[in-house]
Protein backbone atom coordinates (compact mmCIF):
# COMPACT_ATOMS: atom_id res chain seq x y z
CA UNK A 1 0.00 0.00 0.00
CA UNK A 2 1.28 3.45 -0.91
CA UNK A 3 0.75 5.73 2.07
CA UNK A 4 -0.67 9.16 1.21
CA UNK A 5 -1.22 10.47 4.72
CA UNK A 6 0.27 13.82 5.66
CA UNK A 7 0.21 15.01 9.23
CA UNK A 8 -0.36 18.71 9.00
CA UNK A 9 -2.16 21.22 6.88
CA UNK A 10 1.24 22.74 6.13
CA UNK A 11 2.43 19.49 4.59
CA UNK A 12 -0.88 19.16 2.78
CA UNK A 13 -0.51 22.45 0.90
CA UNK A 14 3.28 22.35 0.57
CA UNK A 15 4.37 23.66 -2.81
CA UNK A 16 1.43 25.97 -3.49
CA UNK A 17 2.61 29.23 -5.00
CA UNK A 18 1.57 32.48 -6.60
CA UNK A 19 -0.05 32.28 -10.04
CA UNK A 20 -0.85 28.61 -9.79
CA UNK A 21 -4.06 27.00 -11.04
CA UNK A 22 -6.18 25.27 -8.41
CA UNK A 23 -9.28 23.14 -8.63
CA UNK A 24 -11.58 23.16 -5.62
CA UNK A 25 -14.41 20.68 -5.16
CA UNK A 26 -17.86 21.52 -3.91
CA UNK A 27 -21.25 22.73 -5.10
CA UNK A 28 -22.19 25.94 -3.36
CA UNK A 29 -20.83 25.38 0.14
CA UNK A 30 -21.63 21.66 0.00
CA UNK A 31 -18.54 19.47 -0.06
CA UNK A 32 -15.96 22.24 -0.15
CA UNK A 33 -12.44 21.66 1.22
CA UNK A 34 -12.84 23.99 4.20
CA UNK A 35 -9.47 23.28 5.79
CA UNK A 36 -7.51 23.75 2.58
CA UNK A 37 -9.33 26.97 1.71
CA UNK A 38 -8.60 28.40 5.13
CA UNK A 39 -4.91 27.47 4.85
CA UNK A 40 -4.66 28.93 1.35
CA UNK A 41 -6.27 32.11 2.60
CA UNK A 42 -3.73 32.33 5.43
CA UNK A 43 -0.81 31.48 3.13
CA UNK A 44 -1.14 34.85 1.43
CA UNK A 45 -0.34 33.51 -2.04
CA UNK A 46 -2.03 35.37 -4.85
CA UNK A 47 -2.52 35.71 -8.60
CA UNK A 48 -4.39 32.40 -8.49
CA UNK A 49 -6.61 30.84 -11.10
CA UNK A 50 -9.36 28.92 -9.32
CA UNK A 51 -11.54 26.34 -11.02
CA UNK A 52 -14.60 25.75 -8.90
CA UNK A 53 -18.28 25.42 -9.77
CA UNK A 54 -19.12 28.32 -7.46
CA UNK A 55 -17.18 31.03 -5.68
CA UNK A 56 -18.41 30.63 -2.12
CA UNK A 57 -20.26 33.34 -0.25
CA UNK A 58 -18.91 36.65 0.96
CA UNK A 59 -17.36 35.35 4.17
CA UNK A 60 -16.93 31.65 3.56
CA UNK A 61 -15.53 29.20 1.05
CA UNK A 62 -13.70 30.84 -1.84
CA UNK A 63 -15.16 34.14 -0.64
CA UNK A 64 -12.25 34.13 1.83
CA UNK A 65 -9.72 34.20 -1.00
CA UNK A 66 -11.74 36.69 -3.03
CA UNK A 67 -11.94 39.01 -0.08
CA UNK A 68 -8.15 39.08 0.19
CA UNK A 69 -7.84 39.47 -3.58
CA UNK A 70 -5.77 36.33 -3.92
CA UNK A 71 -7.70 35.21 -6.99
CA UNK A 72 -6.85 36.62 -10.40
CA UNK A 73 -9.22 34.46 -12.40
CA UNK A 74 -12.23 32.29 -11.64
CA UNK A 75 -13.45 29.46 -13.84
CA UNK A 76 -16.97 28.59 -12.68
CA UNK A 77 -20.49 27.86 -13.84
CA UNK A 78 -22.52 29.87 -11.32
CA UNK A 79 -21.44 32.69 -9.06
CA UNK A 80 -24.74 34.20 -8.03
CA UNK A 81 -24.29 33.99 -4.27
CA UNK A 82 -21.41 36.34 -3.82
CA UNK A 83 -21.68 40.14 -3.84
CA UNK A 84 -17.93 40.75 -3.54
CA UNK A 85 -17.40 38.44 -6.49
CA UNK A 86 -19.89 40.38 -8.60
CA UNK A 87 -18.28 43.66 -7.59
CA UNK A 88 -14.76 42.52 -8.53
CA UNK A 89 -16.01 41.05 -11.77
CA UNK A 90 -18.01 44.04 -12.93
CA UNK A 91 -15.14 46.38 -11.97
CA UNK A 92 -12.71 44.30 -14.00
CA UNK A 93 -10.48 43.39 -11.05
CA UNK A 94 -11.35 39.73 -11.46
CA UNK A 95 -11.20 37.74 -14.68
CA UNK A 96 -14.08 35.32 -14.98
CA UNK A 97 -14.58 32.42 -17.34
CA UNK A 98 -18.12 31.10 -17.05
CA UNK A 99 -18.62 27.57 -18.32
CA UNK A 100 -21.71 25.39 -18.56
CA UNK A 101 -21.79 23.17 -15.49
CA UNK A 102 -21.82 19.91 -17.41
CA UNK A 103 -18.96 21.04 -19.62
CA UNK A 104 -17.02 22.07 -16.53
CA UNK A 105 -17.49 18.64 -14.96
CA UNK A 106 -16.63 16.83 -18.17
CA UNK A 107 -13.60 19.04 -18.86
CA UNK A 108 -12.21 18.23 -15.42
CA UNK A 109 -12.84 14.53 -15.96
CA UNK A 110 -11.20 14.77 -19.40
CA UNK A 111 -8.15 16.41 -17.83
CA UNK A 112 -7.80 13.52 -15.44
CA UNK A 113 -8.60 10.88 -18.03
CA UNK A 114 -6.12 11.89 -20.73
CA UNK A 115 -8.85 13.02 -23.14
CA UNK A 116 -7.57 16.36 -24.50
CA UNK A 117 -10.85 17.41 -26.10
CA UNK A 118 -14.44 16.30 -26.75
CA UNK A 119 -17.58 17.51 -28.47
CA UNK A 120 -20.67 18.61 -26.56
CA UNK A 121 -23.90 20.31 -27.63
CA UNK A 122 -23.87 22.57 -24.54
CA UNK A 123 -23.33 26.22 -25.35
CA UNK A 124 -23.73 26.01 -29.11
CA UNK A 125 -25.01 29.32 -30.46
CA UNK A 126 -24.04 31.18 -27.26
CA UNK A 127 -21.08 33.24 -26.04
CA UNK A 128 -19.58 30.03 -24.75
CA UNK A 129 -19.08 28.81 -28.32
CA UNK A 130 -17.11 31.85 -29.44
CA UNK A 131 -13.81 30.85 -30.98
CA UNK A 132 -14.58 27.16 -30.62
CA UNK A 133 -14.82 24.61 -33.38
CA UNK A 134 -18.37 23.64 -34.33
CA UNK A 135 -19.20 20.30 -35.88
CA UNK A 136 -22.46 18.49 -36.59
CA UNK A 137 -23.12 14.99 -35.34
CA UNK A 138 -26.47 13.35 -36.12
CA UNK A 139 -27.65 16.65 -37.51
CA UNK A 140 -27.03 18.53 -34.28
CA UNK A 141 -24.27 21.13 -33.87
CA UNK A 142 -21.68 20.51 -31.16
CA UNK A 143 -18.71 22.49 -29.94
CA UNK A 144 -15.23 21.23 -29.15
CA UNK A 145 -14.28 21.66 -25.50
CA UNK A 146 -10.81 21.05 -24.09
CA UNK A 147 -9.58 19.34 -20.93
CA UNK A 148 -8.89 21.27 -17.75
CA UNK A 149 -5.99 20.48 -15.45
CA UNK A 150 -4.63 22.08 -12.30
CA UNK A 151 -1.38 22.34 -10.39
CA UNK A 152 -3.27 21.39 -7.27
CA UNK A 153 -6.74 19.97 -6.74
CA UNK A 154 -8.28 20.35 -3.30
CA UNK A 155 -11.12 17.96 -2.57
CA UNK A 156 -13.16 17.06 0.46
CA UNK A 157 -14.61 13.67 1.31
CA UNK A 158 -16.52 12.13 4.16
CA UNK A 159 -14.33 9.06 4.70
CA UNK A 160 -10.90 8.25 3.40
CA UNK A 161 -8.09 5.82 4.03
CA UNK A 162 -4.32 6.12 4.12
CA UNK A 163 -4.14 4.71 0.58
CA UNK A 164 -5.99 7.84 -0.57
CA UNK A 165 -9.31 6.14 -1.30
CA UNK A 166 -12.29 8.44 -0.80
CA UNK A 167 -16.00 8.11 -0.04
CA UNK A 168 -18.28 11.15 -0.25
CA UNK A 169 -21.54 11.74 1.57
CA UNK A 170 -24.82 12.59 -0.17
CA UNK A 171 -24.57 15.43 -2.65
CA UNK A 172 -21.23 16.55 -1.22
CA UNK A 173 -19.70 14.37 -3.94
CA UNK A 174 -20.45 16.72 -6.87
CA UNK A 175 -17.22 17.97 -8.54
CA UNK A 176 -14.80 16.39 -6.08
CA UNK A 177 -14.21 13.10 -7.95
CA UNK A 178 -13.40 14.72 -11.30
CA UNK A 179 -11.18 17.35 -9.75
CA UNK A 180 -9.34 14.67 -7.81
CA UNK A 181 -8.56 13.09 -11.19
CA UNK A 182 -7.36 16.31 -12.79
CA UNK A 183 -4.93 17.66 -10.20
CA UNK A 184 -1.20 17.23 -10.74
CA UNK A 185 -1.15 17.11 -6.96
CA UNK A 186 -4.48 16.21 -5.40
CA UNK A 187 -4.93 17.03 -1.73
CA UNK A 188 -7.87 15.31 -0.06
CA UNK A 189 -9.25 16.31 3.30
CA UNK A 190 -11.67 13.96 5.01
CA UNK A 191 -13.90 14.02 8.03
CA UNK A 192 -12.82 10.52 9.01
CA UNK A 193 -9.49 8.95 8.10
CA UNK A 194 -9.13 5.17 8.36
CA UNK A 195 -6.21 2.78 7.96
CA UNK A 196 -6.11 1.20 4.50
CA UNK A 197 -8.29 -1.88 4.37
CA UNK A 198 -11.18 -0.56 6.44
CA UNK A 199 -13.24 0.80 3.54
CA UNK A 200 -15.20 -1.52 1.24
CA UNK A 201 -13.17 -1.71 -2.03
CA UNK A 202 -16.42 -1.80 -4.03
CA UNK A 203 -17.88 1.35 -2.44
CA UNK A 204 -15.01 3.76 -2.98
CA UNK A 205 -15.85 6.79 -5.12
CA UNK A 206 -12.34 8.09 -5.77
CA UNK A 207 -9.59 5.47 -6.07
CA UNK A 208 -6.45 6.40 -4.14
CA UNK A 209 -4.34 6.52 -7.31
CA UNK A 210 -5.83 9.96 -7.98
CA UNK A 211 -4.87 11.31 -4.55
CA UNK A 212 -1.33 12.37 -3.61
CA UNK A 213 -1.96 13.64 -0.07
CA UNK A 214 -4.69 12.97 2.46
CA UNK A 215 -5.39 14.30 5.95
CA UNK A 216 -8.18 14.42 8.47
CA UNK A 217 -9.65 17.91 8.53
CA UNK A 218 -11.05 19.62 11.59
CA UNK A 219 -13.62 22.17 12.75
CA UNK A 220 -15.93 21.65 9.80
CA UNK A 221 -18.63 24.31 9.73
CA UNK A 222 -20.55 22.79 6.81
CA UNK A 223 -22.70 25.87 6.38
CA UNK A 224 -26.11 25.60 4.76
CA UNK A 225 -26.90 28.24 2.14
CA UNK A 226 -30.64 27.73 1.78
CA UNK A 227 -32.12 26.15 4.85
CA UNK A 228 -35.49 24.95 3.57
CA UNK A 229 -37.68 22.90 5.85
CA UNK A 230 -41.29 21.84 6.27
CA UNK A 231 -43.13 21.60 9.54
CA UNK A 232 -44.68 18.44 10.86
CA UNK A 233 -48.44 18.51 10.51
Amino acid sequence: MINKEVNSIEDAIKGVDNKMTFMLGGFGLCGIPENAIKALSESGINGLTCISNNAGVDDFGLGLLLHKKQIKKMISSYVGENAEFERQMLSGELEVDLIPQGSLAERCRAGGAGIPAFFTPAGYGTEVAEGKEVREFNGQPHILESALEADFAFVKAWKGDTAGNLIYKGTARNFNPMMAMAGKITVAEVEHLFPAGELDPASIHTPGIFVQRIFQGKDYEKRIEQRTVRTKE
Binding site: V79, G80, L98, T171, R173, N174, P177, R227, T228
Partner: protein
Protein backbone atom coordinates in the same frame (compact mmCIF):
# COMPACT_ATOMS: atom_id res chain seq x y z
CA UNK B 1 -57.39 35.84 -13.83
CA UNK B 2 -53.69 35.42 -14.39
CA UNK B 3 -52.04 32.52 -12.60
CA UNK B 4 -49.70 32.91 -9.68
CA UNK B 5 -46.50 30.93 -9.42
CA UNK B 6 -48.31 28.02 -7.87
CA UNK B 7 -50.82 28.01 -10.70
CA UNK B 8 -48.02 27.86 -13.24
CA UNK B 9 -46.42 24.98 -11.33
CA UNK B 10 -49.76 23.13 -11.18
CA UNK B 11 -50.29 23.49 -14.91
CA UNK B 12 -46.78 22.25 -15.69
CA UNK B 13 -47.30 19.29 -13.39
CA UNK B 14 -49.98 18.13 -15.84
CA UNK B 15 -47.20 17.62 -18.39
CA UNK B 16 -45.59 14.92 -16.27
CA UNK B 17 -45.92 11.42 -17.64
CA UNK B 18 -45.55 8.12 -15.86
CA UNK B 19 -41.93 6.98 -15.84
CA UNK B 20 -40.42 10.40 -16.53
CA UNK B 21 -37.14 11.50 -15.06
CA UNK B 22 -37.45 15.23 -14.58
CA UNK B 23 -35.04 18.07 -13.89
CA UNK B 24 -36.61 21.11 -12.26
CA UNK B 25 -34.81 24.43 -12.31
CA UNK B 26 -34.68 27.00 -9.52
CA UNK B 27 -37.78 29.09 -8.73
CA UNK B 28 -41.21 28.25 -10.12
CA UNK B 29 -40.03 24.92 -11.59
CA UNK B 30 -39.09 23.66 -8.11
CA UNK B 31 -42.74 24.01 -7.08
CA UNK B 32 -43.85 21.54 -9.75
CA UNK B 33 -42.77 18.67 -7.51
CA UNK B 34 -45.60 19.50 -5.13
CA UNK B 35 -48.35 18.81 -7.68
CA UNK B 36 -47.57 15.44 -9.27
CA UNK B 37 -50.83 14.01 -10.67
CA UNK B 38 -52.22 10.92 -8.94
CA UNK B 39 -51.11 7.57 -10.30
CA UNK B 40 -48.06 9.03 -12.00
CA UNK B 41 -44.59 7.92 -10.95
CA UNK B 42 -41.78 10.31 -11.78
CA UNK B 43 -38.31 10.82 -10.34
CA UNK B 44 -36.64 14.16 -9.89
CA UNK B 45 -33.01 14.64 -10.82
CA UNK B 46 -30.99 17.48 -9.44
CA UNK B 47 -27.85 18.19 -11.42
CA UNK B 48 -25.65 18.53 -8.35
CA UNK B 49 -25.88 14.77 -7.99
CA UNK B 50 -29.09 13.17 -6.80
CA UNK B 51 -31.91 11.23 -8.35
CA UNK B 52 -35.04 10.48 -6.35
CA UNK B 53 -35.31 13.81 -4.58
CA UNK B 54 -38.01 14.11 -1.94
CA UNK B 55 -39.61 17.03 -0.10
CA UNK B 56 -37.80 19.49 2.14
CA UNK B 57 -36.69 17.98 5.47
CA UNK B 58 -38.56 18.48 8.69
CA UNK B 59 -37.13 21.22 10.81
CA UNK B 60 -34.05 20.02 12.65
CA UNK B 61 -33.43 17.23 10.15
CA UNK B 62 -31.54 19.31 7.59
CA UNK B 63 -28.27 17.83 6.37
CA UNK B 64 -25.63 20.18 4.94
CA UNK B 65 -24.48 17.30 2.72
CA UNK B 66 -27.89 16.87 1.14
CA UNK B 67 -28.98 19.74 -1.08
CA UNK B 68 -30.49 20.33 -4.50
CA UNK B 69 -29.10 22.47 -7.32
CA UNK B 70 -30.74 25.51 -5.75
CA UNK B 71 -28.62 24.84 -2.63
CA UNK B 72 -31.80 24.05 -0.68
CA UNK B 73 -31.78 21.31 1.92
CA UNK B 74 -33.75 18.29 0.69
CA UNK B 75 -34.57 14.67 1.48
CA UNK B 76 -34.48 11.57 -0.68
CA UNK B 77 -37.07 8.93 -1.47
CA UNK B 78 -36.76 5.16 -1.69
CA UNK B 79 -34.63 4.16 -4.66
CA UNK B 80 -32.66 7.39 -4.57
CA UNK B 81 -29.05 7.49 -5.71
CA UNK B 82 -26.15 9.93 -5.40
CA UNK B 83 -23.54 10.52 -8.10
CA UNK B 84 -20.89 12.99 -9.22
CA UNK B 85 -21.36 15.97 -11.52
CA UNK B 86 -19.92 14.25 -14.59
CA UNK B 87 -22.36 11.36 -14.21
CA UNK B 88 -25.16 13.82 -13.57
CA UNK B 89 -24.58 15.61 -16.84
CA UNK B 90 -24.14 12.29 -18.61
CA UNK B 91 -27.77 11.69 -17.67
CA UNK B 92 -28.71 15.10 -19.02
CA UNK B 93 -26.55 15.26 -22.15
CA UNK B 94 -27.31 11.62 -22.91
CA UNK B 95 -31.07 12.33 -22.93
CA UNK B 96 -31.84 10.02 -20.04
CA UNK B 97 -33.74 12.86 -18.36
CA UNK B 98 -37.06 13.14 -20.24
CA UNK B 99 -38.23 16.55 -19.16
CA UNK B 100 -36.54 19.78 -18.15
CA UNK B 101 -38.47 22.66 -16.63
CA UNK B 102 -36.66 25.95 -16.20
CA UNK B 103 -37.17 29.66 -15.88
CA UNK B 104 -36.23 32.28 -18.47
CA UNK B 105 -35.72 36.00 -18.84
CA UNK B 106 -36.58 35.85 -22.54
CA UNK B 107 -37.78 33.28 -25.07
CA UNK B 108 -37.85 33.90 -28.81
CA UNK B 109 -40.32 32.60 -31.36
CA UNK B 110 -37.49 30.39 -32.70
CA UNK B 111 -37.31 28.67 -29.34
CA UNK B 112 -34.14 30.47 -28.26
CA UNK B 113 -33.83 31.12 -24.54
CA UNK B 114 -31.90 33.67 -22.47
CA UNK B 115 -31.64 33.31 -18.71
CA UNK B 116 -28.10 33.75 -17.43
CA UNK B 117 -26.71 37.20 -17.99
CA UNK B 118 -27.57 40.88 -18.31
CA UNK B 119 -24.46 42.52 -19.79
CA UNK B 120 -22.90 45.07 -17.45
CA UNK B 121 -25.50 44.45 -14.76
CA UNK B 122 -25.86 40.89 -13.65
CA UNK B 123 -23.81 37.82 -14.32
CA UNK B 124 -24.77 34.90 -12.16
CA UNK B 125 -23.64 32.32 -14.66
CA UNK B 126 -25.45 29.66 -16.62
CA UNK B 127 -25.01 26.87 -14.09
CA UNK B 128 -26.37 23.73 -15.71
CA UNK B 129 -28.88 25.52 -17.91
CA UNK B 130 -26.84 25.45 -21.12
CA UNK B 131 -26.29 21.72 -20.83
CA UNK B 132 -29.95 21.15 -20.04
CA UNK B 133 -31.38 23.17 -22.93
CA UNK B 134 -28.86 21.87 -25.44
CA UNK B 135 -29.69 18.26 -24.68
CA UNK B 136 -33.25 17.70 -23.52
CA UNK B 137 -35.81 16.73 -26.13
CA UNK B 138 -38.54 18.15 -23.99
CA UNK B 139 -38.04 21.59 -22.49
CA UNK B 140 -40.75 23.58 -20.79
CA UNK B 141 -40.14 27.16 -19.76
CA UNK B 142 -41.95 28.36 -16.65
CA UNK B 143 -42.10 32.14 -16.32
CA UNK B 144 -44.20 35.26 -16.08
CA UNK B 145 -45.42 36.44 -19.47
CA UNK B 146 -43.94 39.90 -18.91
CA UNK B 147 -41.06 41.28 -16.86
CA UNK B 148 -41.24 43.68 -13.95
CA UNK B 149 -41.43 46.63 -16.31
CA UNK B 150 -44.40 45.06 -18.06
CA UNK B 151 -42.40 44.17 -21.17
CA UNK B 152 -43.08 40.95 -23.01
CA UNK B 153 -40.68 38.07 -22.40
CA UNK B 154 -41.93 36.23 -25.50
CA UNK B 155 -40.00 37.97 -28.24
CA UNK B 156 -39.31 37.91 -31.93
CA UNK B 157 -35.67 37.69 -31.02
CA UNK B 158 -33.91 37.54 -27.67
CA UNK B 159 -32.05 40.71 -26.73
CA UNK B 160 -29.98 39.14 -23.94
CA UNK B 161 -27.07 36.70 -24.33
CA UNK B 162 -28.48 33.30 -25.22
CA UNK B 163 -28.53 30.19 -23.10
CA UNK B 164 -29.51 27.97 -26.01
CA UNK B 165 -30.89 28.11 -29.53
CA UNK B 166 -34.04 26.57 -30.96
CA UNK B 167 -34.58 24.40 -27.92
CA UNK B 168 -37.71 25.52 -26.06
CA UNK B 169 -40.73 23.39 -26.93
CA UNK B 170 -43.39 24.71 -24.59
CA UNK B 171 -43.95 27.74 -22.41
CA UNK B 172 -46.27 28.01 -19.43
CA UNK B 173 -46.78 31.56 -18.17
CA UNK B 174 -49.19 33.30 -15.83
CA UNK B 175 -51.36 33.98 -18.90
CA UNK B 176 -51.09 31.03 -21.22
CA UNK B 177 -49.68 27.73 -22.42
CA UNK B 178 -47.85 28.09 -25.72
CA UNK B 179 -46.03 25.76 -28.04
CA UNK B 180 -43.03 26.89 -30.05
CA UNK B 181 -43.70 25.94 -33.67
CA UNK B 182 -41.96 26.80 -36.93
CA UNK B 183 -43.78 30.09 -37.34
CA UNK B 184 -44.04 31.40 -33.80
CA UNK B 185 -45.74 30.90 -30.46
CA UNK B 186 -48.82 28.75 -30.95
CA UNK B 187 -51.37 29.46 -28.25
CA UNK B 188 -52.68 26.26 -26.68
CA UNK B 189 -54.52 27.38 -23.54
CA UNK B 190 -55.52 30.55 -21.72
CA UNK B 191 -55.29 31.04 -17.97
CA UNK B 192 -58.79 31.16 -16.43
CA UNK B 193 -60.48 34.42 -17.32
CA UNK B 194 -57.58 35.70 -19.43
CA UNK B 195 -58.62 36.90 -22.89
CA UNK B 196 -56.93 36.42 -26.22
CA UNK B 197 -56.38 40.15 -26.27
CA UNK B 198 -54.60 40.07 -22.91
CA UNK B 199 -52.24 37.44 -24.27
CA UNK B 200 -51.75 39.21 -27.59
CA UNK B 201 -50.90 42.45 -25.81
CA UNK B 202 -48.32 40.71 -23.64
CA UNK B 203 -46.66 38.87 -26.51
CA UNK B 204 -44.14 40.67 -28.70
CA UNK B 205 -43.26 37.66 -30.84
CA UNK B 206 -45.62 36.22 -33.41
CA UNK B 207 -48.64 34.68 -31.68
CA UNK B 208 -50.49 32.00 -33.59
CA UNK B 209 -54.14 31.55 -32.68
CA UNK B 210 -55.97 28.75 -34.44
CA UNK B 211 -59.54 27.82 -33.61
CA UNK B 212 -60.97 27.95 -30.12
CA UNK B 213 -58.41 28.35 -27.34
CA UNK B 214 -59.61 26.56 -24.22
CA UNK B 215 -59.08 27.72 -20.69
CA UNK B 216 -56.66 25.74 -18.57
CA UNK B 217 -58.19 23.20 -16.23
CA UNK B 218 -56.24 23.23 -12.99
Amino acid sequence: MALDKIGIAKRIAQELKDGYYVNLGIGIPTLVANYIPEGINVEFQSENGVLGMGPFPFEGEEDADLINAGKQTITTLEGAVFFDSATSFSMIRGKHVQLTVLGAMEVSEQGDIANWKIPGKMVKGMGGAMDLVASADNIIVAMMHTNKRGESKLLKKCSLPLTGVACVKKIVTNLAVLEVVAKGFKLLERAPGVTLEDIQNATEGKLIIEGDIPEMVL
